[in-house]
Symmetry: C2
Subunit: 298 residues, 2 copies
């Protein structure tokens, strides 16, 4: 029955974890005309109730049996730290052939957990929608959260073409651009554009705190360190599940910083100027491309 | 005649370089009720004309003799790379006892140039108003650019108390908070909160370009790298005049990054979590203080 499943044929969509991301999936799916019943699975009665109130799900439950027992597609949208527990619960209650995806910020570890903990009859396709915010909770969920942003798609060995097409079609229906990558490619890319910037922003804060220079800091410093205000627990989970990717990215940055330091030490103005010019041109070109694709402030 | 000069007694204010900062000084001084004649000195007729048109100065000239020959207070607001040339011109044309200050982003080099190139009769007080933007040119000048921001004050050996009070009073009149520091203190502080973040933002861009990960980058990356869009020429000048300060700050950051790398390598979740918690708490507390002082986006 599942072989030719298309987004428009979905009858039952389960969302495990109805916070900012899970709630936004529910809102965006309905806004895009999705008619499947949206079932929320949560750990607290209060958040399930709230998710129904804001229209993010049609019904909510604390029970996996009731929540995913007839699911065509399951979206795991809990914090990364709960994934293993969630996968074990799903293994006990999913129907054969169900397609499972997630919204986790790292992929190599998630793919391993899925292979280990989900039964072979379940078709797992990893996802990472590059959307979110520093806020948390279903009260901040928005139907347009995913609009025009990018979603990584990471097929597992157990996912056939139909399952991959279903998951890819699902995120496209929600307004995203999709990009298929391997788990290692994914983790290397996000280390460079997200995990390393987070580590660096947090380390810059610490340098300023220890140096007692913080009270003179202004707008530029506020921009550069903004991501350091993200949830420490969530980010510890992310960094710890992408240790290799982050370490490699740290090494690449440190190597560059030491080159710059050498040029400064040698008063090599040309090298410093060329470095700053390369980065400025690259950033301006990227902002222009991005600005054309999606409305962000330049 | 100059011994008890106060901001309210200024008769002639000269602004050398009428771009974003110099133009904003002119606008802000008039908006704050300053009545002294505002004389602009520039290198191009067109920018002088434009500065008069937007009301940033009362009259403009390409000649130092006409521009600063009767000045009570001179503000040097050119790019750092022109300071030595400007100081030589000022030396030839300033009246005895004139007070000179600047808006340069580094201070140890500037103080050396002033001591070397300005005559002993001129009272130099270094300034660094922490205001500006990625835009350039007098068309972007604003009367409120300095409002509630901080200005570093760096007295020279040749500046008596009256000269320091005049310069400090001037920036306060424009709405700034002032903070007196030594040249070395200044350069260490701005290395940590401004120059290092600039170097790091530019280096993060390069890691992403070389790793071909840029096309997946999102809002967090845009924030963290925003300052890398600043003028390469201006920033090369800044970094090259604060080589010691920037090298020390790079060393402090690299040391921290290598600690973090070690914790990741050892899977030391506790250390990673504590590090992220310290930085998040420090940033949130800083944003709250800053938000209370000055309206910026949290």
């Amino acid at each position: 029955m599942h072989n030719d499943l298309k987004t428009q044929n979905l009858e039952s969509l389960s969302i495990v974890g109805v916070g900012l991301l899970g709630g936004s999936v529910g809102l965006a799916f309905r806004a895009a005309g999705g008619t499947a019943e949206r079932v929320g699975v949560g750990r607290r009665r209060s958040s399930i109730t709230r998710a129904v109130e804001v229209g993010a799900i049609d019904r909510g439950t604390l029970s996996y049996r009731s929540g995913v027992g007839r699911a065509d597609l399951v979206i795991v949208a809990t914090p990364l730290g709960h994934f293993k527990t969630v996968f074990r619960q799903l293994a006990d209650h999913l129907p054969d052939g169900a397609v499972v995806t997630d919204v986790g910020s790292t992929k190599a570890s998630v793919m391993e957990w899925a292979a280990e903990l989900l039964p072979p009859t379940v078709r797992f396709v990893g996802s990472h929608p590059m959307a979110g915010s520093e806020t948390a909770g279903v009260d901040f969920a928005r139907a347009d959260l995913f609009h025009r942003a990018q979603c990584f798609i990471v097929p597992s060995d157990r996912a056939d073409e139909d399952a991959v097409a279903l998951v890819e079609g699902f995120w496209r229906k929600l307004g995203m651009r999709t990009r298929q990558v391997t788990p290692d490619q994914h983790d290397r890319i996000v280390a460079q554009i997200s995990h390393l910037p987070h580590v660096v922003a947090s380390a810059l804060m610490e340098v300023a705190v220890v140096g007692e220079s913080l009270d003179s800091a202004a707008t530029g410093f506020a921009d550069t360190t903004r991501v350091a205000s993200g949830s420490p627990g969530m980010w510890a989970d992310i960094l710890m599940t992408n240790r290799r990717g982050v370490c490699d990215a740290v090494d690449e940055l440190v190597e560059r910083l030491l080159s710059i330091r050498k040029w400064l030490d040698a008063a090599d103005t040309d090298q410093i100027l060329q470095f700053l010019e390369r980065s400025q041109k690259a950033r301006d070109a990227w902002v222009q491309r991005r600005y054309a694709e999606r409305e962000i402030e330049p």
